[in-house]
């Protein structure tokens, strides 16, 4: 492995053809300012155009369309820099069904509980134990602890999570020990 290259081990799976997913390893030249998203785009354009991934970018670090698992951690591909000489394993976000390779289903699902349920059932009633489970669980980094209470860091109201209230998520709710007990 040359020190000027980045190695990507990418999850490949076509549910129409493959029984089990497989990994394919690619080595691509490093460029200044490269992120996981740019690396995947390079891969698609120059190495393997059968790769399926979410190409579009909002350039505002806000849309969470490019979320993938890098080395086991859910991150936004656009906000995750890669370094020369490093090795990265790239998986789709595991909670959702895979369409192909790194692309997963995203559907409107209003029925799942979201931060607003957490807010009304736990936080506003003073039942929060400040364990931080929800802050760790949020795949979008929206939740922070402020004065030992979880708050939404988005600019919107506290009872309205931009992702959880429109798309499938609910990670914060399933992580909360108090909510599960209530």
């Amino acid at each position: 492995m040359s020190s000027n290259n980045v190695t990507l081990k990418v999850f490949r799976f076509n549910p129409d053809k493959d029984l089990t997913p497989a990994y394919k390893t690619y080595e691509i030249p490093y460029e200044e300012g490269m992120t996981v998203h740019i690396a995947l785009k390079y891969l698609y354009e120059n190495v393997d155009n059968t790769l399926a991934f979410k190409d579009s970018c909002c350039y505002s670090l806000k849309c969470y369309g490019c979320v993938v698992r890098v080395n086991g951690k859910e991150v936004r591909a656009c906000a995750t820099p890669v370094s020369a000489g490093q090795f990265y394993t790239i998986d789709p976000v595991s909670a959702h069904g895979v369409i192909r390779d790194l692309v997963v289903h995203a559907k409107f699902r209003m029925s799942t509980p979201s931060f607003k349920n957490l807010y009304s059932t736990v936080i506003s009633k003073g039942l929060c134990v400040s364990c931080g489970s929800c802050t760790d669980a949020c795949p979008h980094g929206f939740i922070r602890l402020k004065d030992d209470r979880p708050i939404l860091t988005t600019m919107l109201r506290q009872d309205w999570c931009p992702v959880g209230d429109t798309l499938e998520c609910g990670e914060c709710v399933s992580a909360c020990p108090v909510y599960q007990a209530e």
Partner: protein, 568 residues
């Protein structure tokens, strides 16, 4: 052979950006069955999400403010605007802003709960009207409102390739479901194009600063053109200086706004100041372009925004950035730029990045096009902005005309019946798409063709245009159409075939690029964003009219058409 999936809907909306969702909500509230089709996922693709600035939102109770808005937009647009449309934007922007706020948008407010008016004068507004409402604050509330409404179904990852017609009326569309690869046939009583612009035709674009997709490949222009719609002023493209170095600084947004906020200076490589604010968009654009062209740019080919003379301290600057971008985003960007002291930050800006396309499908104040059953709103439509878009108008435009589309297309749809499907047309379109996946020996990849188009447009069709350059561009585009388009090949995969999407996009991009170049060649004057070296003067005697593009027998026919004036 695979079966077709047939989808019936009262109101078919192509594009899930601001205009599309606004129209969906309006029409669904009228009780129509609405289908929104987006080639990505609404709020996770498209350009509304990328909006950094604000919305021009005149105070409706103040006739002076409205009049100032009207004259500002007309002055920017060099009188090429449809005056009725401009008036509509001015009068209704505040109501649409209030809608967004009611649905949960957080417009920047001061301590007293009043809207903060952001730097209004820098780019030539005569009164202070622009409210700060970034893209997510428009898209998230719209998304939530859409999700609450049972009458709206959203089909994400669905690419419409052509509109279907029945005896002169648009009666539906054909496309592919990218997720499954199925071929789709839509039957619709009314169809709205809200597909946005075509910034991705250029190598450097504020729509795709890092080369990742924003989604603006101009498919909407191409499918409207093939359906026989009249497009006007396609040569009017707004370019904006793009902050390109260090990577990610483009997230800061409009360079002029950043300069104004931090009282920073714009310097060339010799340390001379290039321009002072205030200044209108097309003028500063040309000045920056000329400076770089004269060889006074940095080795990377840009000019430098210098913060060292800023009267603000580093802490104040950091706070301002954090306020503007959000603390978390600022933290990420700072990390990406190596955690330097902000005062030492030297941002380089490049000459000409495509920003907004003023031209497009001709609409009237009811968002009707010349084709019955087809409506258009947002960047894909035209004439609100004329020859040059004033700041804050794009967001006002999409919101106002998105809502208007619902208001006028809804009653139209209720009076229509579903038409029969034209199976010959559907089969022909399916063959066209399937052909892209046929293996061939002399294949070229769609990505390589896309790059060529981007280079041609970037080299010849930007801020300073000449007949010679445009003719060269046209020749090269025709060469691509004849030699490379038939050879494009995507891998034969049904599920989520990214390369097939690229191929379909490229076949449309060539059409759009050719429309732009031919329109630019036909306008023999300089006006607003269109600056011809051969005809440097504005010529109101001969050219106070729109250039027009229409499809006749599969050929681009260029003409002119008069401007709609306000009835005084």
């Amino acid at each position: 052979m695979k079966q077709y999936r047939i989808i019936e809907t009262d109101f078919l909306i192509l594009g899930g950006g601001g205009a599309g969702l606004m129209a969906a909500i309006g029409a669904a509230n009228q009780g129509l069955d609405v289908t929104v089709v987006d080639k990505g996922f609404p709020s996770r693709s498209g350009l509304t999400m990328m909006v950094m600035g604000g919305m021009d939102w005149p105070n409706v109770n103040d006739p002076k403010d409205l009049e100032a808005h009207y004259h500002d937009v007309l002055r920017h647009g060099c009188d090429l605007n449809d005056q009725n449309l401009v008036e509509a934007v001015g009068k209704e922007a505040a109501a649409r802003g209030a809608d967004l706020e009611r649905w949960g948008a957080d417009v920047l407010k001061d301590k007293d709960g009043k809207h903060v008016i952001i730097s209004p004068m820098i780019t030539g507004h005569s009164t202070a009207r622009v409210r700060y409402i970034p893209g997510p604050q428009m898209m998230w509330p719209l998304m939530a409102e859409v999700a609450r409404n049972d009458n709206i179904s959203v089909m994400s990852n669905t690419l419409i390739t052509r509109l279907m017609k029945d005896s002169g009326r648009v009666c539906g569309a054909v496309g592919i479901d990218i997720e499954s690869g199925d071929f789709l046939v839509f039957k619709a009583k009314a169809t709205l194009l809200a597909t946005g612009g075509a910034g991705e035709l250029w190598k450097m674009s504020t729509n795709t600063p890092l080369g990742l997709k924003g989604g603006a490949t101009g498919n909407g222009f191409a499918i409207a053109y093939h359906a026989g719609a009249l497009l006007i002023d396609m040569e009017m493209i707004q370019f904006s200086p793009l902050m390109f170095y260090p990577s990610y600084c483009e997230i800061f947004g409009n360079p002029m706004q950043v300069m104004d906020w931090f009282k920073a200076k714009l310097l060339n490589k010799d340390g001379e100041e290039v321009l002072t604010l205030p200044i209108t968009r097309d003028v500063y654009q040309r000045r920056i372009f000329n400076e770089i062209k004269a060889g006074k740019g940095t080795p990377k080919g840009g000019l430098i925004i210098d913060f060292t003379t800023s009267p603000l301290s580093s802490e104040e600057m950091e706070n301002k950035f954090a306020d503007y971008l959000g603390a978390e985003k600022w933290h990420i960007i700072k990390g990406m730029m190596g955690n330097k002291n902000v005062k030492e930050l030297k941002i380089e800006i490049g000459g000409a990045a495509a920003h907004h396309i003023m031209g497009g499908i001709r609409i009237n104040e009811k968002t009707e096009t010349n084709v019955p059953g087809l409506f258009a709103a947002g960047e894909v439509s035209s004439s609100v902005h004329g020859a040059n878009r004033a700041p804050g108008q794009a967001t006002a435009d999409i919101m106002v005309f998105g809502a208007r589309a619902a208001l006028y297309a809804g009653p139209y749809a209720r009076l229509q019946n579903f038409s029969k499907i034209d199976w010959d047309f559907v089969k022909k379109e399916e063959t066209r798409i399937k052909n892209f996946m046929e293996p061939r020996a002399d294949a070229v990849t769609p990505v390589s063709v896309k790059k060529k188009i981007k280079d041609i447009m970037f080299n010849h069709v930007t801020v300073l245009r000449s007949e010679q350059g445009l003719t060269t561009a046209l020749r090269e585009l025709i060469e691509i159409r004849e030699k490379e388009l038939p050879r494009m090949q995507a891998p034969a995969i049904t599920r989520f075939n990214t390369a097939l999407v690229d191929t379909i996009e490229v076949s449309d991009m060539v059409d759009v690029a050719e429309m732009i170049v031919r329109s630019a060649l036909s306008r023999k004057e300089s006006r607003g964003a269109h600056f011809m070296e051969d005809y440097p003067e504005r010529d109101d005697k001969n050219w106070l009219k729109h250039t027009s593009v229409i499809c006749e027998n599969n050929e681009i026919i260029i003409g002119t058409t008069p401007i709609t004036r306000r009835v005084a």
